[in-house]
């Protein structure tokens, strides 16, 4: 079973905070990996926040292939940050030769394009790079998006942190939002892509638990959008549905929960909005999610979201101190990073609840 977490702060913080959030929850994960998505970056990336940032792990040949592809497609590199791994020590990590985080300038003819066009371009580019690297077996590309950095690695999270020098805050890597997980996916093949969080066009999501409707979700999602690929984990379904509901259908956030864990028909029938809820339930039945699970998601605007399965079979807790809010599977994680907060104000969302934390760290919660 996974443990998941996320931190949102008014101030930039270092990813070591995310590790401190996760490690006390260690009993719940098997130390098989570490992955995080950072958004709203500072440090080395503070100057080019509007330029897409490519996150990848690859071999030397893979790096060259990516460079060639980007050049052929008129992306010009602006700056890059390549973490120097701590080698020599005996660390439990299956590191790739290179981790590259590189900002690009949009191709000339895209500079005046609309945001929608740019979004499509960024997605197409990432998908193309993924196919390129996958076919050659030379690497993995996790995200290509402005102001978003993704790191995924197989191994012991503490060792991975040592390798990437994540324990030391030298100011290089800072963000206001981090979503994190310390475990490799175990449902299917152990591959780097399978580690949560997953990312698509500004939407980030990780999940703790199971999705017993994986097959039916997958079969449906495959035809919905070209970005819905991979399916290395049943948790990807949550992300794709979120993307579909918010980005494709452009529905308000509260309907996400109505799609993944619809109310029973009996409850719907006595509500004022029964016509809408019934229509949603019947048209999006194949996106429904069954099984025990909790999700934590981050939206393009940095808002963080959490909700649970309809039976509340997996835990989650939200706690904050005014400057920082953290979401975690276990309260011990939040205690580790926000020991001074008023614990009485912690929120344990229930099976019908959606919790959203906005930029002002205001916590909104509502019943489905």
């Amino acid at each position: 079973m996974c443990r998941i977490g996320a931190i949102k702060s008014k101030e930039f913080f270092h990813p070591s905070k995310a590790l401190h959030l996760m490690l006390p929850q260690q009993e719940g994960h098997d130390n098989s990996g570490f992955a995080m998505v950072m958004q709203d970056l500072a440090g080395v990336f503070s100057r080019h926040k509007d330029k897409p940032l490519l996150s990848l792990a690859c071999s030397q040949r893979g790096a060259k292939m990516v460079e060639d592809y980007m050049e052929t497609n008129n992306f010009t590199p602006i700056q890059e940050w390549i973490p120097r791994g701590v080698r020599g020590k005996k660390l439990d990590i299956a590191a790739m030769p290179y981790y590259i985080f590189r900002n690009y300038e949009y191709p000339e003819h895209y500079r005046d394009a609309s945001w929608e066009e740019k979004e499509e371009l960024l997605l197409s580019t990432r998908l193309a790079l993924r196919i390129l690297l996958e076919e050659a077996g030379e690497g993995f590309v996790y995200s290509f998006w402005p102001d978003v950095l993704t790191l995924k690695e197989i191994g012991d999270p503490a060792d991975i942190a040592t390798y990437f020098r994540l324990w030391e805050n030298n100011g290089d890597l800072m963000a206001k939002n981090v979503v994190v997980q310390c475990r490799q996916n175990t449902n299917y093949d152990i591959v780097r892509y399978a580690a949560h969080p997953f990312f698509l066009q500004g939407y980030t999501l990780c999940a703790n638990g199971e999705n017993t409707f994986y097959t039916k979700n997958k079969e449906y999602q495959k035809s919905l959008h070209r970005g819905y690929i991979g399916f290395e984990s049943d948790s990807q379904n949550f992300l794709y549905t979120m993307h579909y509901v918010l980005h494709e259908l452009k529905w308000p956030i509260k309907y996400y929960k109505h799609v993944i864990t619809p109310l029973p028909f009996e409850e719907i029938s006595v509500r004022d909005d029964r016509a809408e809820l019934t229509a949603i339930r019947q048209s999006l039945g194949h996106l429904e999610i069954n099984g025990p699970n909790t999700i934590i998601a981050m939206l393009p605007d940095g808002n963080m979201v959490t909700c649970c399965d309809s039976k509340k079979l997996r835990p989650v807790v939200v706690g904050g101190d005014g400057t920082t809010v953290a979401i975690a599977s276990e309260v011990c994680g939040i205690n580790a990073i926000l020991p001074e907060r008023d614990q009485a104000l912690d929120i344990y969302p229930n099976e019908r609840e959606v919790v959203v934390i906005d930029a002002a760290l205001e916590v909104k919660r509502w019943k489905q």
Partner: protein
């Protein structure tokens, strides 16, 4: 010997022989009265008896005329093995015994007529559904649910479901509002009482099913729907509140529609749906037949016909293509109920089921509210034996193909799939239903098991199977008032209700271990098969 022709039919040529113990028989006459086929009759036999009346044994032999019960040696009165005589005999003096050396298949065609038969399945060796098991059991990370305590949402759609992007939503202040009409969809129990007409069944049997349906809805919170079958229904019911539990059927004979149309202005509620029957699985391509023997007076009234064989042609005459014809029918039917009632169609499973389904999914009017496919393993009624035995298509793989075809197009669920034909054949309808649902059905329909629950004694091995004769010994498939009277309506309804309550619990018992509180439509990963060919065909896991 010369007075007996060797071609004469004897009891030994018939499928069942009567075993009769004269010494136990008191000649009460119960058996001959009970035998609706007149397969037995009283007769006089000259018997040799040995008696001794004195103080000393002095046996002497004489001949005596004795009354006996004798089997009639004619095809028309062949014993069907129904066992009513045995059931009723107070002295256990009589019973039917299967005759393995029967020449029935040969002698019964001597009238120049094809053999007809009702109430049993086709010649089938083994069922696919029995070679599939629910294999993905949640345990540690993915806990099974408690079937007794958790709530389960066991309902299925009947009606056209729009794709998410077709929903007429407008967003206002963080809320979505439906700004236009959507096609009607009724959410009902995923088991429909299949279409058996009020002519095929006795009025009492039909009433028992209707009663069970109403009871399940009103007392048991199970929104089960019953399909009327072709031929209409009593006006009283058409004009009652209970009409909302009924799916009205229109088949190619259009029997009974006159009455339905006439009753429309007085209908208090809408029916649950309309089912247009194009074909059925048990005798595909054969159309419907209600033999004249069963066209009683009240049937003539309901259907508006004289006493004669009533045939529904094997197709809807005047229809030209799937698109055009189905649209036409749907449009007119939808218009009749002002687009408030979902309309579905039912076809026999066949090699072309997928093409039909694909066509329906492209229907630009978004008007087809369900695709019912019917496999060969079901069926009552009167079918030519040759069609029943040698035509048709099993439904499981066809259902799966239709579902997967919808998956390919991203349209799964838009036209709900309902499948039937042999569901519950082994008595376990819940297991059959769940497997069909996992393979992609939204729900199933079942008919024959209802008859069995009401007390039908027929079986798959040629016991009784006389539903076509109008002589149903259980009073289920007959219009003879004396025979129909044998059926206890309340008891029959109670049996159906009890079975459905059990089925509901069993469905939960099957949904719980796979961790699903709503119907696992298309959750094929929950199923496994121990037979490679079946696993491959249905795209499920092979296990051994």
């Amino acid at each position: 010997m010369e007075t007996v022709r060797t071609q004469d039919v004897t009891v030994n040529d018939l499928p069942w022989k009567i075993e009769y113990a004269r010494e136990r028989c008191t000649m009460c006459g119960s058996c001959t009265a009970a035998c609706s086929f007149q397969a037995i009759q009283p007769a006089m036999e000259r018997r040799s008896v040995t008696i001794s009346t004195g103080h000393q044994p002095e046996p002497s032999e004489r001949h005596q005329a004795r009354p006996v019960i004798r089997q009639v040696d004619s095809v028309a009165n062949a014993c069907t093995g129904c066992g009513m005589c045995e059931k009723i005999c107070p002295n256990k003096a009589i019973r039917p015994v299967r005759n393995p050396d029967s020449r029935h298949a040969l002698v019964a065609r001597s009238g120049g007529q094809p053999l007809k038969r009702g109430g049993r399945t086709n010649l089938q060796a083994g069922r696919t559904l029995d070679k599939i098991v629910v294999g993905r059991i949640s345990q540690m990370t993915d806990p099974a649910l408690d079937s007794e305590r958790h709530t389960f949402d066991i309902v299925a759609p009947f009606g056209r479901v729009l794709g998410p992007k077709e929903l007429p939503f407008t967003a206002q202040g963080g809320e979505l509002h439906l700004s236009d009409k959507t096609p009607p969809v009724n959410w009902i129990y995923p088991v429909i009482f299949s279409d058996m007409s009020i002519g095929a069944l006795s009025t009492r049997a039909w009433e028992a099913i209707a009663l069970a349906t109403a009871y399940l809805n009103e007392r048991c919170n199970m929104p089960v729907r019953m399909c009327s079958g072709e031929g209409g229904m009593p006006v009283k019911l058409l004009e009652s509140e209970q009409l909302k539990y009924m799916i009205l059927q229109i088949a190619s004979g259009h029997f009974g529609w006159n009455r339905i149309i006439k009753a429309m202005p007085r209908m208090k509620v809408d029916p649950a749906g309309i089912l247009i029957k194009i074909g059925q699985g048990a005798k595909p391509g054969d159309g419907g037949l209600l033999p004249a023997a069963k066209v009683a007076e009240h049937i003539q009234a309901i259907r508006g016909v004289p006493k004669a064989d009533l045939m529904s042609p094997p197709n809807h005459q005047g229809l030209y293509s799937i698109e055009e014809s189905v649209q036409k029918m749907h449009l007119s039917l939808n218009a009749a109920f002002k687009f408030r009632v979902p309309v579905a169609i039912k076809c026999a499973a066949s090699a072309t089921s997928v093409s039909v389904y694909n066509n329906l999914m492209r229907d630009p009017y978004r008007i087809c509210g369900g695709f019912f496919i019917d496999g060969i393993q079901g069926g009552t009624g009167a079918a030519n034996e040759v069609s029943l035995d040698h035509t048709g298509h099993p439904v499981v793989s066809k259902l799966r193909e239709c579902y997967l075809s919808a998956v390919k197009q991203g349209r799964q669920g838009q036209i709900p799939l309902w499948a039937g034909g042999g569901v519950g054949l082994t008595g376990n309808a819940a297991a059959d239903a769940l497997k069909m649902i996992c393979l992609g059905a939204n729900g199933i329909f079942m008919g024959k098991i209802l008859i069995q629950l009401m007390g039908c004694v027929g079986n798959e091995n040629g016991r009784c199977n006389s539903c076509n004769t109008g002589k149903c010994p259980a009073g289920i498939c007959t219009q003879d008032p004396r025979l129909a009277k044998r059926l206890n309506v309340d008891l029959a309804a109670r049996n159906i209700v009890n079975y459905m309550l059990a089925l509901d619990s069993e469905l939960k018992k099957l949904m719980a271990p796979i961790g699903n509180s709503s119907l696992p439509v298309g959750r094929s990963d929950a199923l496994v098969s121990t037979e490679q060919a079946i696993a491959d065909k249905l795209a499920i896991q092979y296990v051994c």
